[in-house]
């Protein structure tokens, strides 16, 4: 029997995963992590009101979710002072990036990002046959000038940038981002990933212009709202760009429980303020722990702190491996020179304390291994 053949494109793709999940690591280790500080999840948890809404919705889960996410979309529209037609809700930002890439970047089309930026975006570009072009980070920041220049050179369909940045925690202010939007090459769509914007200083997000035809902004309930496992993200863009999703999206893809949870989370502004405060405190603690160990914490506008381990990638990888061996789930940038760093998510005191206790031992192990 002749086996079914994958498409020519699919044959070229590796079976891969952009990130190995902590559960997979735990299964491999044979024991659970003591602290889960690697995926920039919010261990402070979601709003109690969101939890209550999800618990109520669990009994009603025999119903498909609303294919239009009407109530959530309209609440978001009110929140942002725009029309619901400027918003598309999807299964996390990941669940929106795939269809977006599919809509704009076909086989051979040029796409520009920073070397070491979000791997899942790159995975989607490769998956649809796009040609990925990268520019380096500049002093721990994504570099709008370099991204724009590269996009103009290669005729990019899409530019990806995250602001604040993951994995470095850095950020540009709103004026820099607005200037980037204003200077986009003709026909190029800017994918502005603002997953961490709720945790950034005021003045980081440029004003939302719902009529801007050349920028789509990505937001999520996974970070500040503490609902990573619920898979709720949304895109803000022009009506043209937003309605494009209806050509290819999985219309009934949203979990009904998650829709209800996100709606409640959005309305609980007190909890968001509480989380912003907790994250600010945790950032300070992580920075102090880093300094106490002779390392250099980078400024952060996110719910994580990226720590410069002061040597090369091999050293940081050894520190990371030792931390994981100590039961501390953390991650690190994949690409040099950012890979001299490790990345530690904010969390409640017991988790941060576990990191504090493990870090000196991990550094000692890394020094022992590499001298």
């Amino acid at each position: 029997m002749t086996k079914p053949a994958l498409t020519a494109l699919a044959q070229t793709l590796p079976a891969s995963v952009p990130f190995v999940g902590p559960e997979a690591q735990e299964r491999q280790m044979g024991h659970p992590f003591k602290a889960r500080l690697g995926a920039n999840e919010s261990a402070f948890g979601p709003s109690p009101k969101a939890i209550a809404a999800m618990q109520k919705a669990a009994a009603e889960v025999w119903m498909y979710g609303d294919a239009e996410s009407h109530d959530l979309r309209h609440a978001l529209a009110t929140h942002h002072g725009i029309a619901a037609e400027n918003i598309m809700v999807g299964e996390g930002i990941d669940g929106l990036l795939g269809p977006l890439v599919r809509l704009y970047a076909g086989p051979g089309d040029a796409v520009v990002t920073s070397a070491g930026a979000y791997p899942t975006f790159n995975y989607h570009v490769a998956g649809f046959g796009g040609a990925l072009h990268t520019v380096p980070f500049k002093e721990n920041c994504e570099d709008p000038d370099a991204l724009l220049a590269k996009a103009a050179t290669v005729g990019a369909k899409l530019i990806y940038i995250s602001n604040p940045d993951n994995p470095m925690g850095s950020w540009h202010n709103a004026e820099v981002m607005q200037e980037m939007i204003d200077r986009l090459p003709p026909g190029c769509l800017l994918v502005l990933d603002e997953a961490y914007i709720d945790l950034a200083p005021d003045g980081t997000a440029p004003p939302i212009d719902p009529d801007a035809p050349n920028v789509i902004r990505m937001r999520t309930f996974s970070k500040a709202h503490g609902m990573a496992g619920a898979r709720v993200g949304y895109a803000i863009g022009s009506r043209d760009v937003i309605s494009g999703f209806n050509k290819v999206r999985n219309h009934f893809g949203m979990c009904r429980i998650s829709q209800q949870g996100a709606l409640a989370a959005l309305q609980d502004t007190e909890w968001l303020a509480h989380i912003q405060n907790e994250v600010a405190k945790a950032r300070q603690k992580i920075k102090e722990i880093a300094r106490q160990n002779g390392l250099t914490p980078l400024p952060s506008a996110t719910n994580f702190v990226t720590i410069d381990c002061g040597r090369d990638g091999d050293f940081a990888r050894a520190v990371l491996a030792a931390l994981v061996g100590e039961g501390i789930f953390v991650r690190m940038p994949f690409v040099a020179p950012q890979d001299r760093c490790i990345r530690v998510s904010c969390g409640p005191d017991p988790q941060i304390e576990a990191f504090a206790q493990a870090l000196p031992r991990a550094l000692a192990q890394a020094h022992e291994k590499l001298g």
Copy 2:
């Protein structure tokens, strides 16, 4: 400013939705439905143990779901007596059909289905540029011989068939399906959608052969398990076919709450037996209601009953519109000659009773309109 341009393929696609959801209809009507019997959801609800598991998981939703759905996949493997490597968990069957089509049917590739079978499958084929070929139903059943013959003629990459069938509720026995598998043209993959298999008579599903290279079977927690809104489906196939999903899937796409709910639902075999019994009783009631109104219910191996209204599509559409006007959410087949029918989902007595009360009035309205 030159607007970003969609890919050539995306430009050809309409912004569409395979199904209008009941919430959208309710918003348009300005009032809620009295009975929700249109989407083959299980208004009997999910297992109380599944609800409890989801409620517990709601507080833990700050964590991403396990990207491998390890526990659920292994429980399913035990349940079916196969290896976890033969199973892929996804965001409902819809969430698996998209990537599957993407992997096997590129632009221009031939795909075969029945005229009037699952529209969401067709939507995905169109979305990836495939060329859809259809054969007619034969006496209310999908026609394996015709599907195979068409596939051989057009060199199909994929054949889609649902057994039991939606929207007609009909089914073939295991021997017929096994013969279809055995007679597939070389290089053709059979997509065997068994969404309703838990509600079919014993002897409907052919034995699962995990090494069969040319069939992928789709199962779901949306129907008998009453978890449509949770978005959990799974595919059973050869290791080759299953591992292909890892080339393109959204690895962290599963809702953590849904993963936990499905695991609990799978283990609650008593609830499944209870639902099978409730569905059998509801099918009888719906059939009796149809007969009392001079209509012909079709045999059903699903959680719905398709009712032949005895005239043409215009008449059935008038009956459907009148039912919707009476506050009864039902749907009907899209394509002639199946569109002489309406399709009524099983549900608890109050919902079936609401349908029973509305049907005579709806028929009267349809007769008044069309004579």
